[in-house]
């Protein structure tokens, strides 16, 4: 991330959107809209004085709304570029015409309420699309109670809770009462492999849940994890060994069966109802916290980018390959890599990225 931000050949256009594309292979003309941060990127040092004084709080999207940020904010601590951004939908000045506290406290005179969005035009020979993933909204599966039962959370919310820089400084404190969650149930295939929603395997969730359960045990030796799975699909290098380590070294209990329903008892403890498909027994388990391994879907921006670039997508909205390779799209000179093409974990996304880069390089180096 830092290397990309510092590389002399990489022009970083963050907080920006591609709004128009024309031309063809070897000669694309692209219009990029740079949204206004209302902060001078050159002057801001991300010292944080403005954030300290900003009176307006809104849910923090990066922390999956588990904590609040201010109207002026750093997207995340290690983000590149490391500059503040004013959220115009939250800022009191934009709503009521007064405040500007950030401007008064900024020692670098970096706040600029006069800043406006501006369009830049680029001429490029090739395009690489890497628009990534969003998560399936599990509130659609009403039987799991997400949004209704406070101690049912998603895997990405769990990631923020277990993270030392997250809203609970890495302590697994459950939402209803801030109690340390010691018994955690993981529900696999939430939306994935489900003919009603995402009729495909999201491929990363089995390993994610095993990892999450390992982290819980590393943070708290008394932690107990139960992973309810359809069947494990851990096909990558060393993945099988990882799964076995989860059971043998971290005491994770694997229960084969899809959870039918989640209810809660009088103390907001979630109760999982399931059939163990190895024994055929229908049973229930009460835990402190439930983590839903939700399906991953193409990111919201992927559909718009595919439309602008006239790329073919499949029935799930993933960008189609052209039949020769997964990286080549239906439009010559445009390549795709990572989750916007379909389920892929990090190492796979990195391989695809290098492949896409090599194919793009072939065009811009060989066509002069």
């Amino acid at each position: 991330m830092l290397d990309a931000g510092r590389h002399p050949r990489i022009e970083l256009l963050a907080y920006s959107d591609v709004i128009d594309v024309s031309g063809s292979v070897g000669d694309f003309r692209v219009k990029v809209r740079r949204r206004a941060r209302y902060v001078d990127e050159e002057r801001c040092t991300a010292c944080g004085l403005c954030v300290e004084k900003c009176p307006k709080k809104v849910p923090d999207e990066f922390d999956m709304t588990l904590r609040e940020r201010r109207a002026i904010y750093l997207y995340f601590a290690q983000g590149i570029p490391a500059v503040m951004t004013i959220d115009p939908d939250a800022c009191i000045y934009f709503e009521k015409g007064k405040c500007r506290v950030c401007e008064r406290v900024c020692e670098r005179e970096a706040i600029d309420f006069e800043q406006s969005e501006r369009d830049v035009e680029l001429d490029v020979g090739a395009i690489v699309v890497a628009t990534g993933l969003d998560l399936f909204d599990p509130s659609q599966l009403v039987e799991y109670g997400y949004g209704r039962i406070p101690n049912v959370i998603t895997g990405l919310e769990y990631e923020r809770l277990i993270n030392a820089t997250g809203p609970t400084q890495g302590h697994l404190l459950r939402p209803s009462d801030g109690k340390l969650a010691e018994r955690v149930g993981y529900v696999q295939c939430v939306g994935s492999r489900d003919t009603r929603y995402c009729n495909y395997c999201s491929s990363i969730c089995c390993m994610c849940s095993i990892k999450d359960a390992m982290l819980a045990r590393e943070h708290d030796p008394k932690s107990m994890s139960y992973i309810f799975h359809t069947d494990f699909r851990n096909a990558g290098k060393w993945f099988q060994r990882y799964q076995i380590r989860g059971e043998e070294d971290y005491g994770i209990e694997y229960i084969r069966g899809r959870v039918a329903e989640i209810t809660e008892d009088d103390e907001h403890n979630p109760v999982l109802w399931f059939e163990d498909t190895r024994t055929g027994a229908v049973s229930s388990l009460t835990v402190d916290l439930v983590v839903l391994a939700t399906a991953a879907v193409p990111s919201r921006g992927t559909a718009e980018i595919a439309r602008l670039l006239t790329l073919e997508v499949d029935e799930h909205g993933f960008i189609r390959g052209n039949g020769r390779s997964g990286e080549e799209t239906s439009v010559e000179g445009i390549f795709a890599c990572g989750f916007c093409r379909g389920p892929a974990d990090i190492p796979e996304s990195v391989c695809q990225a290098s492949a896409a880069a090599a194919l793009a390089a072939r065009i811009v180096v060989c066509r002069k």
Binding site: A14, L122, A130
Partner: protein, 55 residues
């Protein structure tokens, strides 16, 4: 050297593609809609199967 390459999306895939291209001496324009690059991976604590830190 001809024209540069546009990379859309500053997550792990977009960053890797940008670095590969830049190291080949190609100019890259990396567009990210969020205030900073990093993508989903930056939200993760550790990654499988090594449990290494993600950032």
């Amino acid at each position: 050297m001809g024209k540069g390459v546009l990379v859309i999306g500053g997550g792990i895939a977009g960053i890797q593609a940008s670095l590969d291209l830049a190291e080949m001496g190609i100019d890259v324009h990396l567009v990210e809609s969020k205030p900073s690059i990093g993508g989903r991976m930056s939200q993760l604590d550790k990654t499988f199967p090594t449990n290494d830190c993600s950032i």
